[in-house]
């Protein structure tokens, strides 16, 4: 499903951090994981995934490191940092509040009738 860009923009970093909080991954793995975990509802443009990862790296929320994958090939693995975890916790709380608020505004279901 294609989300409005601005709508996805705020959520995408939280999603990436959440996935990485469960274990380190390289880019392709991560894009696959996002699609799988969200049941293909969230499909980040794969091109935007890497700038997003670099931004998170710049903020020291994730850390990238070249390692040898199971296939025997070099892959750059991204793992969440302690700062990333703190940020994820905060964002999750905020997202929870946001969902609550949305639910209150839209009623029991925010799905249009």
């Amino acid at each position: 499903m294609k989300f409005e860009r601005e709508l996805l923009k705020g959520v995408a970093p939280v999603v990436v951090l959440e996935i990485l909080s469960r274990g380190k991954m390289y880019g392709y793995e991560l894009s696959e994981a996002i699609e799988a975990k969200s049941q293909k509802i969230l499909t980040l443009g794969q091109g935007t995934l890497y700038p997003l990862l670099y931004n998170l790296e710049a903020q020291k929320l994730v850390k990238g490191q070249w390692e040898t994958a199971e296939s025997g090939r070099e892959r750059k693995y991204y793992s969440i940092t302690s700062k990333g975890k703190e940020k994820l916790d905060t964002d999750k709380v905020q997202l929870g509040d946001l969902f609550k608020a949305l639910k209150l505004v839209f009623g029991t279901s925010i799905v249009p009738a």
Binding site: P51, A58, E74
Partner: protein
Amino acid sequence: MANKESKNPFNNLPGCAADYIRLVVKKMRWRKKVRADVQAELIAHFEDALKDCKTNEEKERAAKDLISNFGDAKTIGVLARRAKKRCRPLWQKMMIRFWQIVGITIALFAIYIGWFLSGRPVITTDYIEVANKMMKPKAADDSQNAAPYYEKAAKLIEPQNEQSFEYLRKSFIEASEANIVQIRQWLEKNHEALNLIEQGTEKPYYWQTLQGEPKDNNSMLSVLMPSLGECRTLAHGLRWRAYLSAEDKQYEKAFADLLTIYKLGKHQRGKSTLVQSLVGTAIEALSMNTARTILYRHDIGPQQLESFYNNLQVIVSNENFIIDSSFEKLTEYDEIQRSFTEGHFGFEHIYLKRLFTFRDSLSPNDSHVLSITVQNLPAAFDVLFTHPDKQHSRQMTDAYYDFWGQAATETPFELKGRDLEKETTALIKGNLLLKILAPAMQKVAVLSWRNKAEVEGTVAIIEILRFKQEKGRLPDDLQELVTTGYLKSLPMDPYSDKPLIYKKTQDGFTYYSVGQDFIDNGGKMGVDKDGKPSLWKSDDGDAVFWPVFQNKTK
């Protein structure tokens, strides 16, 4: 890293994927190492995405789908670059910022220097014409001008050098018999020139029509004051002629020459260059000094004294002793218009090329200011960035000359204790151009007061001697000369703001100014640094007008 795994990292990818990745990396326009890192990551991504494709066609199709999913290569490249930039460590960011600032500063400096070097002055006013109008009295016509006579006289005497006519400049007691012979020969040879000077001094006005040097674009500084040296020589010749006439008891002739010298000096003063005014002042002083010497050496009858006094009074009575600096002010105005750029790009700053033309004319103490040395960087900084502009420089010039115009009306006694040089330095602070151009007015102001005292003192001496001739005794005090009508008022001493000091002595009388030490030393003549008696060059004696120190062997 992945890109090091094989020689061609794109081996396992279809051509379209390889081209796409190359384009993304190219559009990043970032450091090679970072680009290689991103490239390896994208190759890995495409390899992982295409690993299950069995045929090349399938791979090609899947790659195209993936490229479509990735989006525009340029956008990805730009986003990746921005994000990677943010990844730099703090020290690197600071270093980059530092060098950016340095670069910007250098660029701005280069632009500023370009601006600074590109302007040119615009000459808007012909100050020589202004000066010529200023110097010529409004009511005068050419037949009343003494200048042609002086110029013609100057041309008649031989060209001068430092040694020329040295004997003419000797004092009366220094000249040997051989010198006297030389002097008589000179007087005979230059009789015609001296006659022209006499004719010139009969004219009521003196003005010159100045001309600038075309190669210096007719600047005021290029104006040559012709005949000044020759005028001095002729004044010295007249001085000797007066002295020798007196020695021959031809007092009327001697006094006539003294009056001619005085009028020649007076003509040189007025609205002219400072140098010319100073020469004029020196010539006036020469006349008065010679008069006192003659009066001291000879017993001259009361009628001749009265005649000399009356004739001298006519000239002196309307004399403004203050040296006029209007010409110097115009010179500075002219130099300001030539030393600041105006109009177009590079306007309104000092014009370095002009400034550097002054380098050779500066004193050793000041010339370093225009030298390009490391020690001189602060001065260079001032010139480049903080030097007052054209308008401010003109205001400073006005303030400078207003200050001296006011100071010149105050006697040295009134100005005692004030550091005028310091006060005027503050007025032109930071203005290198004016520092170079501004004349040392303190000495000029003092000279005019000394000249006044010497002239009025000499006039008083004539009247003291006449009083003695007519009454058979010296006056008890100078007030007696005023009450008996010999003098209109008592000459004042600029170094005490009291009347010049008159005292009767066993040999006659003494008459003096307390001199520049402001202390009455009882009429003890001051001496200069060489030990020679000197009127004004002593710090611990009086300026004694009478008795005349040169001729104590009377």
